[in-house]
């Protein structure tokens, strides 16, 4: 009985985590946009970031918030990577220079 209860709770908890709400999407998208804005200030935006953001918007328009949130999170990861690249390259470029 306890095991069955535990399993039921586990399943309902898991499915709750799987289904993203519009609010989840909006939060994820806002985070992605903020990161992309910073990347833009560093003049180092990546094309796949913009593609992921567009895909997130499109999925959200269609009501598929799972996909939309996933794309938004991908966009945020890409944007953050581009920020890391711009920041680390500020010094690292010198390693490549012909002297």
């Amino acid at each position: 009985m306890r095991v069955l209860l535990a399993i039921t709770l586990l399943i309902s908890g898991a499915s709750g985590a799987l289904a993203a709400s519009e609010a989840d999407f909006k939060a994820a998208y806002a985070a992605a946009e903020a990161a992309e804005k910073e990347a833009g200030n560093l003049r180092n935006r990546w094309l796949p970031t913009e593609t992921a953001l567009a895909a997130a918007r499109k999925a959200a328009e269609g009501g598929d918030f799972d996909a939309a949130t996933a794309q938004a999170k991908e966009a945020e990861a890409l944007a953050k990577a581009s920020i890391f690249q711009a920041t680390s390259e500020k010094e690292r470029w010198k390693d490549m220079e012909i002297r």
């Binding site: 003049r43 935006r45 094309l47 390259e89 012909i98």
Partner: protein
Amino acid sequence: MTRAAEAIDPVGDAKAFRDYFIKKFPKVKLEDFVNGPYSLNEDMRKQWEEKEEFPPYEFALDAGKEMFAKPFKNGKGYADCFPNGGIGIRQNYPYFDEKEGKVVTLELALNRCREANGEAPLSYVKDDMASLTAYMAFTSRGKPMNIKIPNDPRALDAYENGKRYFYTRRGQLNFSCANCHVQNPGERLRAEILAPALGILNAMPIYRSEWSGMGTISRRFMTCNSQTRAEPLEPQADEYRDLEYYLSYLSNGLPISGPGARP
């Protein structure tokens, strides 16, 4: 480990740059580097030499000559905006404008000329702009690149910005200009042979078979960015102007070979 602050030394940089390519390609004559991949691959060179009898940029060149001669609505012309009437001056661009405190490219100067005379500006990447610069480059063919860096800290900064841009990795593919054009000239990137960075702008603007048309330096910078999956900047972004300044300065003494044809 911290790097001591080093003085900006374009003369030293240029010598090191040149020595690097001469050492890497001992059989290539210095002036031949301006021919990009054709200086490094015999088979491609043969095909290119044949094509030069009837170059694909001929139409753009003729169009550019006509455009250059045609007066603006107010009666003035391009010749009024440039030294020597705009003939045989391409090798002096880009230059550092001490009044403005920025690098000015030939394309920027052309559009400013147009706007000062009541004409609409041209797109920076192709068509009419490429035809005009093709003609102007043609009138300078053979002349050595002649970029000046005045003794002005802003000019040295612009040069250094260009250098920094050149060596900085960018885009999702994490390539810098140097990865391809310093570390791997003569090697293949997919089906293309990479050009050496030395003299790389001397053939501009180019007719690129890939584009089925002409393109300016801006066009090439922007597409290079996209190819590393970096978002391109504006055609005459400060970064691009400074990059052009840096690359052109390093190629001082090498002949203008534009307009050019590339795969």
